[in-house]
């Protein structure tokens, strides 16, 4: 076994970063054509996505375990690997969420080493979206926008509204008309302009593409998408650092628009490139609800491309039938030697309850989906029980309590008398 190499250095090296950071350019993922750092989503030549590139050579010896550990207890401890030029302007308390060693759940499943990366505790809006929005809002400031917006299944709108309020920016959020009541209230309290669109998320997203063209708004997951998605890497950076600077052998991530799984994988590869962790060939596993599983279907069928679906699931926050980055999920899952699974609504709810009962973590149906799929992958032997496993929980159950409707008997109500209490407990 080789040992991960990393350069010893002082924490003060963090101040040694070049002016403007280590970002090099935007580059077409398929064409390789480079563009300056600007609000841009696609390559003009092939219309494929563009991605931020960095000068990793310049980082070597300067971006170290020590420099990262000396950073703030937030996602900004990884700022050298994020596409900002100046100081962070948003999300100063976002990220650095718990990585829970889930021994009780592991015992239940017969696993040796199981972790829960718990973004249900993310700040300020209790989902992983606070990572991507922190980066996007900072970038919106740098580009001179005064209004941020998004197409959302709920969690992103909640996060955009909260971050915009804290940053003093205007916010316009567009959501499907049938969003859960909890999510609607949670976002409206921050005062954004909320537009409910009569359609599903894919309809909302199509409209937002046209809105971004017409209005001078920073639609975080449209015209700021290359920067926004980079924030998702911090979920992966934290897993590696919190595991003691090593990678889990298996990472199970939800797949909705296709942002987080490829970015966790990119985070692992960047840490390997910088010598911060050993390359232990981490396998990536995608989790989807059975009522919206275009990526898992393509994996099962061995197809290079996926077919869009009409979502029908209680896991509304991952009900995206036409994932923007789905192609890259398929590519990365296959390259890493992983795979996928999907879960029924009943399995999703059962997994939410199991996670709550064994580890005290209350996740939303998206997290229930990831957990249910992890259970299936473990029980089927696709993920070996004696290897390290990390399950990515990306949202909080308090926002979607209607998912548990009808799950529990009515709790007993008794007179405030000791004899009645005794009768209930002992009878």
């Amino acid at each position: 076994m080789t040992t991960a190499t990393h350069t010893q250095s002082n924490a003060s090296d963090a101040t040694d970063r070049p002016e403007g950071g280590y970002v090099k350019a935007l580059r077409g993922r398929e064409s390789g054509i480079e563009y300056p750092i600007e609000p841009r989503t696609i390559c003009d030549t092939d219309f494929g996505p563009v991605e931020v590139t960095y000068d990793y050579e310049a980082m070597k010896g300067r971006v170290t375990r020590e420099s990262i550990e000396a950073g703030p207890r937030s996602l900004w401890r990884y700022r050298d690997l994020l596409p900002i030029a100046g100081e962070p302007r948003s999300g100063l308390r976002s990220g650095f969420t718990p990585l829970v060693r889930a021994d009780r759940l592991a015992k239940h499943l017969g696993c040796k080493e199981l972790y829960i990366k718990d973004d249900s505790a993310n700040y300020p809006s209790f989902s992983y979206k606070d990572r991507v929005v922190a980066v996007a809002v900072t970038k919106a400031f740098e580009f001179g926008f005064d209004c941020v917006g998004c197409a959302s299944t709920g969690n992103l709108a909640h996060s955009v509204a909260a971050h915009a309020a804290a940053a003093g920016m205007k916010a316009v959020v567009m959501v499907p008309h049938d969003l859960e009541a909890g999510k609607m209230a949670a976002m409206r309290v921050f005062g954004p302009k909320v537009v409910r669109i009569q359609g599903n998320y894919d309809d909302v997203n199509r409209l937002c593409s046209q809105i971004a063209d017409k209005y001078n708004w920073a639609i975080v997951n449209v015209n700021l998408r290359p920067f926004y998605t980079e924030g998702a890497k911090t979920h992966g950076f934290e897993i590696a650092e919190q595991m003691g600077w090593r990678l889990p052998q298996h990472t199970v991530s939800p797949v909705a628009g296709g942002t987080i799984l490829p970015k966790i994988y990119k985070a692992y590869k960047e840490f390997i490139e910088l010598g911060l962790v050993e390359d232990t060939k981490p396998a990536m596993w995608g989790a989807q609800a059975q009522g919206c599983n275009p990526i898992v279907t393509a994996l099962d069928e061995g197809e290079e491309l996926f077919r869009p679906q009409k979502p029908d699931t209680i896991a509304k926050s991952i009900a995206i039938g036409n994932p923007a980055d789905g192609y890259y999920v398929l590519k990365d899952v296959r390259e890493s030697g992983g795979g996928g699974a999907s879960a029924t609504d009943d399995e999703i709810v059962a997994a939410m309850k199991l996670l709550a009962e064994t580890e005290g973590i209350f996740t939303e149906p998206a997290g229930g989906t990831t957990m249910a799929c992890a259970i299936k992958l473990i029980e089927s032997g696709k993920i070996p029980k004696d290897e390290s496993i990390c399950v990515c929980i990306t949202g909080n159950g308090l926002k979607t309590i209607e998912a548990l409707d009808g799950q529990f008997d009515e709790a007993a109500a008794i007179p405030a008398k000791m004899k009645d209490f005794n009768a209930l407990i002992e009878g």
Binding site: G48, E303, L305
Partner: protein, 86 residues
């Protein structure tokens, strides 16, 4: 002379239309609408293609897009919600 109108789209072919010569039909039926193929992927059950339309008027492009939609081709704006792009 007016400035030509341009529109970028992703086309998705599935459910049988991927086996039809829809693009050739488009070229025959709308000779005033130019289209420029930027990338394409074809699988067993689905095909996707990035196109840029150019015409004198938006109405010409809209008519071409409607023809594709009638042929059960899904059309998405390029800047988001696309299958291959992000």
């Amino acid at each position: 002379m007016s400035t030509p109108v341009k529109q970028k789209c992703w086309l998705t072919f599935e459910g049988g239309c991927q086996d039809q010569p829809v693009i050739w039909q488009l070229s025959q039926k709308f000779p005033k609408v130019m289209f420029d193929i930027r990338q394409a992927h074809v699988g067993a059950k689905i095909g996707v293609m990035a196109l840029q339309f150019t015409a004198d008027t938006q109405e010409d492009i809209d008519a071409a897009i409607q023809f594709l939609a009638d042929a059960e081709v899904r059309i998405d704006p390029v800047e988001g919600g696309s299958m291959v792009a992000g």
